[in-house]
């Protein structure tokens, strides 16, 4: 009765106020998400205007459409001047931050957050929390946490209408596997199934593994994969239940296994390995046998053999079911003659050259090594013709016609195929006039720079589609999220010309209400806010949101940076931008084990083998980093290396985006290094440096550095005793230096085109306390040329110069140039280039360096194995005026000539870069005098007949293993 009464009252009340002037409009509560002016601007109500029920309804609809309210009522009061209207509102809340703590992996935090199905910035209802808890518990259960409890703690931030949810999990003990039950005819003993599953630890010696979702699934997959290999393609292995025992907290999966009939697949008319056949036929992957899959298998087989040169290959199948219940599938392949694509010619192309068109073709004529028969099939050729047509159409050739002629037995040679591509380009269409409608004068110049379909440019659908994307991107990034784009084109008065009109409807502009950052614990807030470019009242820009997110990730101190717009679907003039941040663990460790193999061997106390012998040096690395030092986003790390050649500890402190500027970084470092990588001496180096890096542009970088270095030669260097006071004195230097780096390579790890240039200038200042004064210049210039799609010519030139001007009479050994090895002149073992001690034959480094390398890089087999032909030329010279490209060594004390290395290398592509092995042959490797004996006989070397000098030579044959290209 009360409801009816209220309804009647509502109706009567509305009628009573209809048409009366609006005296005032108010909002309750007084503090609203939007300002009064913003609210009034969007409502169809004006003070002094008559009140209309339909307008009031429109006002409620408009307010609700902002997404900022969950309930709205309108209250009216009669006043002497009309009706006072008051909107009674209930604010909506949005998800501002949520995290889950207390769960050991797996599942990881990302999986848990995804499982909640909560959306940052999305509307929140209390039921979201309980649903999220259920999903988390379900995920935990699937990962063995059967007794997990999850407690949500929800808090609200009324000022920003945010809800924060912290889920605290008590996962309990993870259940373990405890056996396996197989129902049905498994065809295998139970132990065999258990071994396949991998649920039992090594041979059962250490009990059973813990249950995780991945381990369960992998186990099932492993059990299933046995059957197709044993001709039971249709086997069905399903998990009936996990058989959880709550007392023991264990699971005993119960499987239902139906092996199905044996399915024998045979290949007639061609040979393939069983593994290859299984990888080609979809019936194995799908584990099903039906007409579609069998036909798809026929096509795949034919296509496979076509790529091997059997261009006429066809395949068909026959299926039979003998009385014994087996299924027999016979694939019959008719290979035909093995063909060879001897010619691929393109005719009629004027606008594009052959190379541009061939880049888009998968049909390839025969090559010497990689494609011995070429690559061709009719469908592939048809796709290539389409690609050529699309290329032309994208450039305004709307009437282009592309056809092909395939000639077999070309020039009378059986099975030789020639392919001719005939292109009739037709007229090229151009834009005669472009009109932009709906674009403000402010935006017009910037937009015109983004457009392709401007006056005089080719007219194509692709260009218009690109323009559309560019225009909408521009508007989306300038606060117009609902911008719309339309275009019309009409023939202009001239032939093959069109008049284009782009019409833009920007829609309402949306601004940033404020930026809200959640989740910081250790990090200082200004570290984050300095990197967020958006500020309150800025136009909402998606690109700025994601750029700021990237800058935060680049700090390397956050494991998760989520960015979202609060209330994304709400129609309102301002919006909050949310950044939800998860700080990474403050410590990280890295451990590594490796080895060096090369001519790095030889005793440190023996005069034998100054050019080194084949040796093996194991190396161990350990590092620890402390992230986010002082909450500033800085990182301190200690990296250590221990090998038989070197022991090193490096402490660094890195401040990326120094002082909030993304173009600067600061690095402080301290190094202690005891090494014997240069055969001549062992040294202890203590070094401290400070470096400011400045990124000038995407390609150009400057580094300003100040280094203090103190180097002590350990023990006795293997050089003539009279040189020891000159070259092996302990020395400390203070070196200001500056580097310029220009990197325009397409891929720094495996470059195909571009250039790389670096220049390093250093000056050891006596005035600053250096014991010796010298200047040093080191420069490198590399360039890469893509001759064809797969063929790359690369070259690099290195130049170095040390010039002494004060202090000691000679540049100390540790400051000299030492070169040679995998990343230098490959005619030498590591650090064996340049001048050598006249008595002992050990390298003593030089004051100048010149090296030039040319490489031809090409594919060998498949996509991953490549080859390299190279020529390395150069040396380390005693002085800059001694640099010479002379081929011959004049005498056994002459090392100022260019040592040549010719060689061949293999490259195997990996995600870390190519694994490299190089073989070098040097026809003019240096000869020199050397002694044989212990270090105690150093004084007798070349003097006493008991330690005679012998003529030795750097081995003409060298090999190098390493990771990454030589340059």
């Amino acid at each position: 009765m009360l409801v009816v009464l209220c309804s009647a009252l509502l109706s009567a009340a509305a009628d009573e106020y209809e048409g009366k002037p609006i005296a005032s409009v108010q909002f309750d509560p007084a503090t609203q998400p939007l300002t009064f002016e913003q609210l009034m601007a969007m409502l169809p109500l004006r003070i002094g205007q008559p009140l209309r029920g339909s307008d009031l309804r429109g006002a409620i609809q408009r307010l609700y459409q902002t997404g900022e309210y969950t309930d709205i009522a309108v209250d009216a009061t009669l006043a002497p001047t009309g009706v006072n209207i008051k909107f009674l509102t209930k604010p909506a809340y949005f998800i501002g931050y949520f995290d889950i703590k207390g769960v050991p992996e797996p599942p990881n935090e990302g999986q848990l957050l995804v499982a909640t199905k909560l959306v940052l910035g999305g509307p929140y209802t209390p039921s979201d929390t309980s649903a999220a808890v259920e999903r988390i518990v379900d995920l935990l259960k699937r990962n063995g946490f059967y007794n997990a409890g999850v407690e949500p703690a929800t808090s609200t931030r009324p000022s920003t209408q945010e809800v924060h949810i912290d889920f605290s999990a008590d996962p309990g003990q993870r259940a373990k596997f405890d056996g396996l039950v197989a129902n049905g005819n498994a065809l295998r003993p139970l132990d065999n199934l258990i071994n396949s599953s991998g649920w039992k630890r090594f041979r059962g010696w250490f009990g059973w593994h813990e249950l995780t979702e991945t381990r369960l699934q992998n186990g099932l997959d492993n059990i299933r994969s046995w059957y197709p290999k044993h001709d039971h393609l249709l086997a069905q292995v399903t998990l009936e239940n996990l058989g959880y025992d709550s007392e023991a907290n264990t699971v005993t999966p119960v499987l239902s296994i139906n092996p199905g009939p044996p399915v024998l697949v045979r290949l007639r008319g061609a040979k393939l390995s069983a593994g290859k056949l299984r990888s080609l036929l979809p019936i194995y992957e799908e584990r099903a046998v039906d007409r579609d899959l069998l036909e798809e298998g026929s096509r795949d087989l034919a296509s496979y053999f076509q790529t091997k040169g059997f261009f006429d290959a066809t395949a068909d199948y026959l299926m039979a079911t003998p009385p014994n219940g087996e299924q027999l599938i016979d694939y019959h392949v008719s290979l035909g003659v093995r063909h060879k694509i001897v010619k691929l010619e393109i005719h009629g192309n004027h606008y594009f050259d052959d190379a541009t068109i061939r880049e888009r073709m998968s049909v390839i004529p025969a090559t010497l090594v990689r494609y011995r028969y070429g690559r061709y099939s009719r469908p592939a050729l048809d796709r290539d013709l389409d690609a050529i047509r699309n290329l032309y159409r994208a450039n305004g050739f709307r009437n282009v016609e592309v056809t092909s002629r395939v000639l077999d037995d070309y020039n009378g040679v059986a099975a030789h195929i020639a392919i001719f591509i005939d292109i009739a380009e037709g007229p090229q269409w151009f834009v005669a006039k472009l009109a932009l409608e709906g674009v403000s004068d402010d935006s017009r110049p910037a937009l015109m720079l983004l457009l392709h379909s401007t006056q005089g440019q080719p007219y194509s659908d692709l260009a218009i589609a690109t323009d559309r994307d560019n225009v909408l991107d521009y508007y989306f990034n300038h606060g117009y999220p609902s911008a719309k784009f339309d275009f019309t084109s009409v023939p202009s008065g001239q032939a093959d010309r069109v008049d284009l009109t782009f019409s833009v409807t920007p829609g309402e502009r949306v601004y940033v209400r404020n930026v809200v950052v959640d989740g910081l614990k250790q990090t200082r807030p200004d570290v984050v806010t300095d990197r967020i470019s958006l500020r309150a009242d800025d136009p909402l820009s998606q690109s700025q949101i994601s750029d700021s997110q990237r800058r935060l990730y680049d700090l390397g101190i956050f494991s998760r940076v989520d960015a979202a717009i609060q209330n994304p679907d709400g129609d309102e003039p301002t919006k909050y931008v949310l950044y939800s941040i998860e700080e990474a663990g403050r410590y990280s460790m890295n451990v590594g084990v490796g080895a060096e193999i090369g001519r790095i061997g030889g005793s440190t106390t023996s005069l034998d083998s100054p050019a080194g012998v084949t040796g093996f040096a194991p190396r161990f690395l350990f590092g620890i980093s402390r992230l986010n030092f002082f909450g500033l986003g800085h990182t301190m790390s200690l990296q250590t290396l221990v090998s038989t050649l070197e022991q090193r500890a490096l402490l660094t402190y890195v401040a990326p985006q120094f002082l909030g500027n993304p173009n600067f970084n600061l690095q402080l470092s301290g190094l202690i290094d005891a090494s014997h990588d240069i055969r001549t001496f062992s040294s202890l180096r203590e070094e401290g440096s400070i470096q400011l890096g400045q990124k000038l542009s995407r390609a150009n970088t400057l580094q300003y550095r100040l280094t203090y270095r103190d180097v002590v030669i350990l023990g006795k260097p293997l050089i003539s005793p009279e040189l020891i006071p000159l070259l092996a004195q302990p020395v400390h230097v203070l070196v200001p230096s500056m580097s310029f780096i220009q990197d325009k390579r397409d891929d720094p790890i495996d470059s195909h085109k571009g250039t790389y240039t670096s220049i390093d200038l250093a000056l050891a200042l006596k005035a600053f306390g250096s014991q010796t004064g010298f200047g040093r210049v080191v420069a490198r210039n590399s360039s890469y040329y893509q001759l064809t799609k797969d063929l790359v010519l690369a070259r690099t030139t290195d130049f170095g110069l040390i010039e002494r001007y004060a202090g000691a009479s000679e540049i100390p050994l540790p400051e000299r140039f030492f070169a040679g090895g995998a990343f230098s002149d490959r005619a030498f073992p590591d650090f064996q280039a340049g001048p050598r001690d006249p008595n002992t034959g050990f390298p003593i480094g030089g004051n100048a360096l010149f090296m030039n390398t040319v490489e031809l890089r090409f594919p060998l087999f498949g996509d991953n194995l490549g080859g390299v032909l190279f020529n390395d030329l150069g040396n380390v010279y005693s002085a800059v005026n001694k640099i010479s490209l002379r081929f011959r060594q004049e005498n056994l004390q002459d090392f100022d000539y260019a040592v040549q290395g010719f060689g061949f290398g293999l490259r195997y592509r990996t995600p870390l870069g190519p694994v490299r092995v190089d073989f070098s042959l040097s026809p003019n490797s240096p000869r020199f005098f050397g002694c044989e004996g212990s270090i105690n006989q150093l004084y007798q070397c070349g003097v006493s007949p008991s330690v005679p000098q012998t003529v030795q030579r750097i081995n003409v044959f060298q090999f190098h293993f390493s990771l990454g290209q030589a340059f």
């Binding site: 509502l10 109706s11 509305a14 009669l78």
Partner: protein, 239 residues
């Protein structure tokens, strides 16, 4: 002497009466009143209480029925408005161009023609508590809906010749039973039959679409009295 009721029992009897008195006795000018509020939300659209009232009144006027403000009638009206909100949402998403309000003029004139004169028409409107503006808007909305439904669903309807023949055979049988002569040929009736079948299929497609869309769009009843009754529970099967 009757026993004195406990204090809480007295309150429970007196309070409602007192409240009703207050409602009627307090001068209107001094009271504040809720004149409209959200009753249901459909995605980002709302159905207000005044909208439900208007729907009931205008529908009653068009059907020349009594105004029924019972709970069941409100539920029915609310359900119709939810369906219209779903269609309106689809119109917005597909950027469907809306007709002019003046397009409803013809329908309004037809409606007026059913009354003896303008005065009778105005009296009828007043009796139902609606204005000409409200009626015009309703007629315009009806027109918009019909045009949109046709635009949205007709292109997907194909009438196979076999269906036309089957319908024709059924019609012939009915005409024969009724003794109608001469019976038109299939070719003479084809266009008419195709249109009848098309309209039927459009209705079916609309019903399916509304049913699917209801599941995709969040519908919240802020006034619980408007919530549709839950479907009767299916009794468990007897083993």
């Amino acid at each position: 002497m009757p026993p004195t009721p406990p204090p809480h029992a007295r309150r429970s009897v007196v309070s409602p009466i007192f409240l009703v008195f207050l409602v009627f006795l307090i001068p209107r000018s001094l009271s504040t009143e809720i004149i409209d509020r959200i009753a249901i939300t459909v995605g980002n659209q709302v159905v207000t209480e005044s909208q439900i009232h208007e729907e009931i009144r205008v529908t009653a006027f068009l059907n020349r029925d009594q105004i029924d403000l019972s709970g069941a009638a409100k539920k029915e009206a609310a359900d119709r408005l939810i369906e219209q909100a779903l269609i309106k949402r689809e119109m917005d998403l597909s950027r469907y161009p809306l007709p002019e309000l003046s397009d409803a003029g013809e329908s309004l004139q037809s409606l007026k023609a059913m009354y003896s004169n303008e005065m009778a028409f105005q009296d009828a409107l007043q009796a139902y508590g609606i204005t000409v503006d409200e009626l015009t808007r309703r007629l315009w909305w009806q027109l918009t809906l019909l045009r949109f439904i046709d635009y949205r669903f007709r292109p997907g309807i194909q009438i196979p010749p076999a269906d036309v023949q089957a319908y024709y055979r059924q019609q012939v049988s009915e005409w024969q039973q009724k003794g109608i002569k001469p019976i038109p040929t299939l070719e003479e009736s084809r266009d008419q039959i195709e249109e009848i079948l098309t309209q039927k299929r459009i209705d079916q497609a609309l019903d399916r679409w509304i049913s699917d869309t209801r599941k995709q769009v969040t519908i919240t009843y802020l006034d619980p009295a408007l919530r549709p009754a839950a479907p009767p529970a299916v009794p468990p099967a007897v083993q």
